[in-house]
Amino acid sequence: MIELKNLSKSFTKGHDVLAGLTCQIPDNAIYGLVGANGAGKSTLLRIINSIYRADKGQVLIDGVDVFDNEELKKEMVFVPDDLFFFSSYSLYQMAKFYQALYPKFAISFVLKEAKTLHLDINQNIASFSKGMKRQCALLCALATKAKYLFFDETFDGLDPVIRKHFKNLLVKQMMKQDTTIIMTSHNLRELEDICDNLGLLYKGKILFEGEIASLKTDMVKVQISLKGDFDEKTFADLDVLAYKKIGQVATLILKDGPLAKKKLPKLKPIILDFLPLTLEEMFVYQMEALGYEFNEVL
């Protein structure tokens, strides 16, 4: 388990990029980190990977401090948003570089996947397109067979087909190798179908986090119409996150879905529809409940 304890980091005086961030990332999960530009997502990943030193706080993996720990770093790989390759190196040469440093590196995986993705392993990476470069970086990272994978703006520049392919590869890797993946994006929709957990980073802190599956099960959107007058108080025994009434039809966002499904039919409604919520909607309502304007956060 990755534990982030009270992490703080500032680059200029009086402006904290991370301000006492505390969070726990469970093993064998895909953790999505979302936040607006400049929220501190990349900085957080760099601190976890010992690139930056935190001003305060600690990053622990299974209780051991990660900073500059060579043994732990052998189980970690980081793909930043701005990719770096040695000049005039081919994918094969880059893979050989990684192979020299990662004991479990599987060059056969790179060769096989490069063939699938139609990447010429002997061609200079500098001549590749942005998306192809990203594919090279992701292939090398996955081939390390590291236990902890960190991706910053993971699928940036990839077309939908390749994106899907890599999502499959990530899931496969997680299933096979007991891997923990932490990926950042400012796009919730991108992470929705792959992440198990999500954390929302805002002003240097995790504002909100949780398992997507339970969020989706718990939170429901309901459209309801009752005979006679009714208002928000009618649903006082339910955990209402948001309430809106237009005419005789009210739209409710309820935190406890199963409870709602049990109690609402008892009110004998004229209309009762349980509608699916997108991840973005769930976050919007959570934020609003916490008193934040979602647009400001994301």
């Binding site: 680059f11 760099r46 990977n49 010992s50 690139i51 930056y52 030193r53 500059d68 720990n69 060579e70 770093k73 052998k74 970690m76 790989v77 980081f78 930043p80 701005d82 990719l83 770096f84 040695f86 000049s87 190196y89 040469q93 050989k96 570089f97 020299a100 440093l101 990662y102």
Partner: protein
């Protein structure tokens, strides 16, 4: 302890692979330039005084190679994406630093070793004087220099946020330390202004009544920078153990500082000059030091317009620095304020420095003067002689004078300076007056490593063996006999990190003269077989032109016959002073070789024989007539 803990060979190998172009370039460049320098050297003369001259290319590249290598290995810290890449690898900062640092040193060592081997090969295969001890000095000196520069640049990279700032910082570290050192304690070691006050009664000033002191050596200013020998100008720098040790200590200090800075470096400090504003301004102000110095020098010369121009140039530089490093000049009042403060401070500092480095030495307190003069090391200790020496130096106005490197002992401290003395005879007279022995008489010849026979403008390398050493040793105190005075032996040995040279006249001994004559003739005959070898002329100090011209004509008609004569007489002992030289040129090497006819009578016989044989030859008759017309007359034998 697992070596992987501090040095990751695989990582280094991969790093080298990605910088292989640069590494191969420098590995090839230095030896190539060295070979060119050596070939040039070989074509001009066979020795140089200091190893630095052989390593001229090594010296100049000592600024380029370590800098380029340090940037190739550590330059990743300047780019955010390369920092992400390197730091995310399964290596800690300590391993990254030590792998790159130690690996860089190993590469530099490899370059120096390769170059030393090239020098050694040239020394063995050619006639260049390259004693083993000199090669060792070369190796030590340049290894220390390369390591020193590499450590400084590594430190600068660890501290700075971009390429330009790291270079500026490197220059500052290189330049500031000798500066501080010079101010503190080394001004006494070299030149500077040393004024010797002379009591007017003891030493009356003859030409200039107002002159109350004598600048022994008027070298002002930058001479101080030669105190860090390894980074000094190669023409000034000597191998001084103290300086090498100091440089090694500094290298260790800088490397430790670099290690600490790198492992603690805020890696977000890139693509900018310095993270800390104060450090940025401090470094910028420090770079004004040389500008301050130049401004001040104009001021001391009384050139106020020059001072003003340089002040404006300095300000332009100061503003440009901001534009390059920060892409803006902000805040302008602060920039102007720091400029004024810095320049005022540097002017004050240089004024103080000038005061400190001006040393007044009173003549009466000088206890000795040491002068190296030709084959003599003169040590003058008598007070009267000291006053004569310095007194003469005070009155050289309008006369020819020589400048000698001298060491002056004063209050138990030695000051190296230059002494101006009138004419060479002044020292020769002193030598005679004191019956001083020359270096030829005092040298231990077992130390000799290289010997050349200097004969008719040509230096022939001669093997240094026991026989030669014994001959030199046995005859060193003997007087020169004119009969055998036809050549000198140029002898070399390496001592105290310097190539010592002794000219030994072969005329001191008959046996030595015959030994050398035999060697000269053998060399001549050996080379006559070589490609494009041809006679140029004959020479006899006492013979007439007609004799030479006619003999040359005979030789050209029948060279094989003449060569047979030379071969038959190559071992003749020297019998008289009338020697004849046959000079020939080896076209392929552009070198000349000479043959010594030890017994001129045999050649005279040959001449007469030829004259009789070709008496009816119209050309001979023509030559004789022509010479007679010129009232030369025919030499009668």
């Amino acid at each position: 302890m697992n070596s992987m803990k501090f040095f990751n060979f695989k990582f280094f190998k991969e790093n080298c692979k990605q910088a292989k172009g640069l590494i191969i370039f420098f590995l090839g460049l230095l030896p190539l330039i060295t070979i060119i320098v050596l070939i040039q050297q070989l074509m001009s003369q066979n020795y140089v005084q200091n190893f630095q001259n052989y390593g001229l290319a090594t010296y100049f590249l000592s600024f380029l190679i370590p800098v380029a290598l340090a940037l190739a290995l550590f330059g990743f810290v300047f780019k955010k994406k390369s920092v992400d890449f390197y730091l995310a690898q399964p290596l800690n900062r300590k391993t990254i630093f030590l792998t790159n640092y130690l690996g860089g040193l190993a590469l530099l060592l490899l370059i120096i070793i390769m170059n030393t081997i090239i020098l050694a090969i040239f020394g063995a295969a050619t006639e260049l004087v390259l004693p083993f001890k000199m090669l060792l000095d070369y190796f030590v000196y340049f290894t220390v220099t390369y390591f020193f520069i590499f450590s400084i640049v590594t430190l600068a990279i660890s501290l700075a946020g971009n390429f330009i700032t790291s270079l500026i910082l490197s220059i500052l570290i290189i330049a500031l330390v000798p500066f501080l050192k010079a101010v503190n304690w080394t001004y006494k070691e070299n030149g500077n202004q040393i004024r010797v006050y002379c009591n007017a009664e003891i030493c009356p000033i003859k030409n200039n009544q107002d002159k109350e002191y004598h600048y022994l050596y008027m070298q002002y200013d930058l001479a101080n920078y030669n105190f860090t020998t390894p980074v000094a100008l190669p023409f000034i720098a000597d191998f001084r153990v103290g300086d090498v040790v100091r440089t090694i200590i500094l290298t260790i200090i800088y490397s430790l500082l670099a290690f600490i800075s790198f492992t603690r470096r805020p890696m977000e400090n890139n693509e900018c000059s310095f993270k800390n504003n104060f450090v940025y301004h401090l470094v910028k102000c420090l770079t004004l030091l040389p500008f301050g110095f130049l401004c001040f020098s104009y001021l001391t010369m009384g050139n106020y317009s020059g001072w003003l121009i340089f002040l404006v140039i300095s300000l332009i530089y100061f503003l440009a620095y901001d534009l390059i490093a920060q892409k803006r000049i902000k805040p302008l009042p602060l920039v102007l304020f720091t400029f004024i403060i810095s320049m005022s401070l540097y002017h004050g500092m240089y004024a103080l420095w000038l005061r400190i480095q001006t040393k007044d030495i009173y003549m009466k307190d000088i206890t000795s003067i040491k002068i190296n003069y030709n084959d003599l090391d003169l040590v003058i200790t008598e007070p009267d002689e000291i006053q004569t020496f310095l007194g003469e130096g005070l009155n050289i106005d309008g006369r020819d004078y020589y400048s000698y490197k001298a060491k002056i002992e004063y209050h138990k401290q030695t000051y190296t300076t230059h002494l101006n003395l009138p004419g060479e005879s002044f020292l020769t007279d002193y030598q005679k007056r004191h019956n001083l022995k020359s270096n030829v008489e005092t040298t231990n010849y077992a130390k000799i490593t290289d010997a050349f026979v200097s004969f008719w403008g040509n230096d022939l390398k001669i093997k240094v063996d026991n026989k030669l050493i014994n001959l030199l040793e046995d005859n060193k105190t003997k007087a020169i006999k004119e009969k055998y005075n036809f050549a000198t032996l140029e002898l070399y040995y390496y001592e105290n990190h310097e190539l010592k040279h002794i000219s030994y006249n072969v005329g001191r001994s008959e046996e030595l003269a015959n030994f050398v004559a035999h060697y000269i003739n053998q060399e001549f005959l050996k080379h006559q077989k070589s490609f494009n070898f041809q006679f140029i002329n004959l020479y006899n100090e006492e013979a007439t032109d007609i004799y030479e011209q006619v003999l040359e004509y005979f030789i050209s008609k029948n060279p094989a016959d003449f060569l047979k004569y030379l071969k038959d007489h190559q071992n003749d002992p020297i019998t008289d002073h009338k020697y004849i030289i046959a000079i020939a040129e080896d076209g392929s090497l552009k070198r000349t070789f000479a043959y010594l006819v030890s017994d001129s009578t045999t050649l005279e016989n040959l001449y007469n024989e030829y004259l009789e044989k070709y008496a009816n030859d119209p050309h001979v008759q023509e030559l004789i007539a022509e010479c007679q017309e010129n009232e030369m007359g025919i030499h009668e034998y």
